[in-house]
């Protein structure tokens, strides 16, 4: 009898100890998770604060309207880089957005469930992970070498090709959200298939498709590596698409690794401008998608 009672006591303390350990572990895990979150959020906040602090002090009207001054001189801006980026992005969008949307239309409307569509989708996802510098040297080999010079055109092509997989996948996802009843209604009216896809299905999904394009746009807007060997950069304004052209991220890179303080200042300012534009784009995308992409289509 005494032994039993002793046994009981031992079990009870064992239970209590184990329960305490489990509770401690639970608390430790929670603590670690919170710590991780803080450690992740901290660099972001740090980067933003530092960017604003360093960049804002260098911003001026000159920054937005003037090209860089020669080395050693104070002043000048990155207007040529901003305009250059805009041109490169325009060329890139002209290539990437239509082809990407068309690819997405194929995946959602014509190829649904087929092996070809699965292969395309998989390849697009894998392509999204290819380093952008590889893209750059491939386009260098394809366009710059035969042409014999760097150009805005080759830079635009590089950016455009990078946009295609992203736009294709987001377009597909948005089109899949259009209810089938809408497609049936159009077909039953005797609307030709191509017209139904474009004027009804794509139009219904267009808010989402547009946000997908903006996402791809924001992503390539910050790319530097593919431009190093295609657009190459320019200290002055470019006249034609066949010339090397400045781009904002490329210029930031060149200035950042240079030994001149004045150029460092400009790099910070440029970085601030770039990050503000990208954050605006991403926030807009978030806002539109969270409000519900398809109003009334249920």
């Amino acid at each position: 009898m005494v032994e039993d009672r002793l046994g009981d006591e031992k079990l009870k303390t064992e239970h209590k100890l184990r329960a305490q350990i489990r509770a401690l572990t639970d608390g430790a895990a929670t603590g670690l998770a919170v710590l991780s979150t803080v450690l992740v959020v901290a660099p972001l906040v740090a980067i933003f604060i530092y960017l604003i602090y360093k960049g804002a002090s260098s911003l001026s009207l000159d920054f937005f309207i003037k090209a860089p001054k020669p080395v050693g001189e104070v002043g000048g801006g990155m207007a040529n880089a901003i305009v250059g980026s805009a041109i490169l992005l325009a060329v890139g969008s002209l290539i990437g957005i239509p082809v990407g949307i068309a690819g997405g239309i194929f995946l959602a409307e014509f190829g649904r469930g087929t092996k070809l569509a699965n292969a395309v989708r998989f390849t697009a996802d894998v392509l999204n992970g290819v380093p952008s510098i590889v893209m750059g040297i491939a386009i260098y080999s394809l366009i710059v070498v035969p042409q014999g010079h760097f150009s805005a055109f080759s830079g635009g092509v590089a950016l455009g090709i990078m946009m295609i997989p992203t736009v294709c996948r987001t377009t597909e996802e948005m089109l899949l959200m259009v209810p089938n009843a809408v497609r049936e209604a159009a077909l039953a009216l005797g609307v030709p298939n191509w017209r139904s896809v474009l004027s009804i299905t794509v139009r219904t999904a267009s808010p989402g498709i547009i946000t997908g394009c903006m996402l791809a746009f924001a992503r390539v807007a910050g790319e530097t590596a593919p431009l190093i060997f295609t657009a190459f950069g320019n200290v002055d304004w470019s006249e034609r698409l066949n010339e090397p052209i400045a781009a904002l991220p490329l210029q930031i890179y060149v200035y950042a690794i240079s030994p001149y303080d004045e150029w460092h200042r400009l790099a910070w300012a440029g970085a601030l401008v770039l990050i503000v534009l990208i954050v605006l784009a991403v926030s807009l995308v978030r806002y539109v998608t969270s409000r519900g992409v398809l109003k009334g289509a249920s």
């Binding site: 809408v182 049936e184 209604a185 039953a188 009216l189 609307v191 267009s206």
Partner: protein
């Protein structure tokens, strides 16, 4: 004016599923014909064979003949062409969500290339009046979207959209099953008035509805058409025992 529909030896499959077996019937012009039967008996498939919507499913197959007027719809023309002559109203209202009421009604014409503004205005007004929706929406034609209406209004909008292309046949697949009783009775009134101008085929679960609006009724069971006769006869003195069992509620 509507036209008659002649169906001979119609068989339909979804993959290996033999959904319709040896359907033969003549649907009279300018009348309303109801198709009744338990769930899954093939009535919807049958109706979708008449405007060749059945074949939009990649695993669907059809054999047999369907003649609308004097046109063999499987041999003599392409699906797009037949769908412009046969209108369809679906079980759940499906107005185009991004388009206004006006654009919804005019869609069948605009998307086929018609652009004369005056005529389109006329047609939209006529169609909406024919579907008893005009008075409720005439002030908001271009301001409100098709999806912002109530369920019953949306269905009437879909009817107007189907009528706007001036079809010869109107197919209605359980048009009132998703609606409240008031909207249902409005739609039944509509069918009653429209049938003198179009050939209407209406699939319905509701036998009272069939009795109210249709002159002829067909009873479908397990993919076959069991009996096709005047509505009065089907509901008072059916020839086939299976019809009688269904009517009296022994199954289905």
């Amino acid at each position: 004016m509507g036209v008659g529909i002649e169906v001979s030896n119609l068989n339909a499959w979804y993959g290996t599923n033999h959904t319709l077996q040896d359907i033969n019937l003549n649907i009279p012009a300018n009348h309303a014909t109801a198709l009744i039967g338990p769930s899954g008996c093939g009535k919807s498939t049958f109706v979708r064979c008449i405007n060749r919507m059945h074949e939009t499913n990649p695993i669907a197959r059809v054999t047999g003949t369907v003649r609308i007027g004097d046109l063999d719809i499987y041999e003599d023309c392409k699906p797009v062409e037949i769908r412009r002559r046969v209108g369809m109203v679906f079980q759940r209202p499906n107005p185009f969500p991004t388009m206004s009421i006006y654009d919804n009604v005019a869609a069948g014409l605009k998307l086929n290339g018609y652009s004369n503004r005056h005529v389109l205005d006329e047609i939209v007004e006529k169609s909406l009046k024919n579907s008893a929706l005009w008075d409720e929406v005439k002030d908001d034609l271009k301001k409100k979207s098709g999806a912002s209406l109530s369920g019953g209004q949306q269905q009437r909008l879909c009817i107007a959209r189907a009528l706007a292309v001036d079809p010869e046949v109107l197919l209605m697949d359980e048009p009132a099953s998703a609606l409240d009783p008031v909207s249902t009775s409005k739609i039944e009134d509509l069918i009653f008035q429209l049938k003198s101008q179009y050939t209407i085929v209406i699939v319905t679960h509701n036998m009272q509805q069939a009795a109210r609006v249709a002159e002829k009724t067909g009873f479908f069971l397990n993919g076959r058409m069991v009996e096709f006769d005047s509505t009065h006869k089907i509901f008072t003195n059916p020839s086939d025992k299976r019809t009688e069992d269904y009517i009296t509620g022994r199954f289905g």
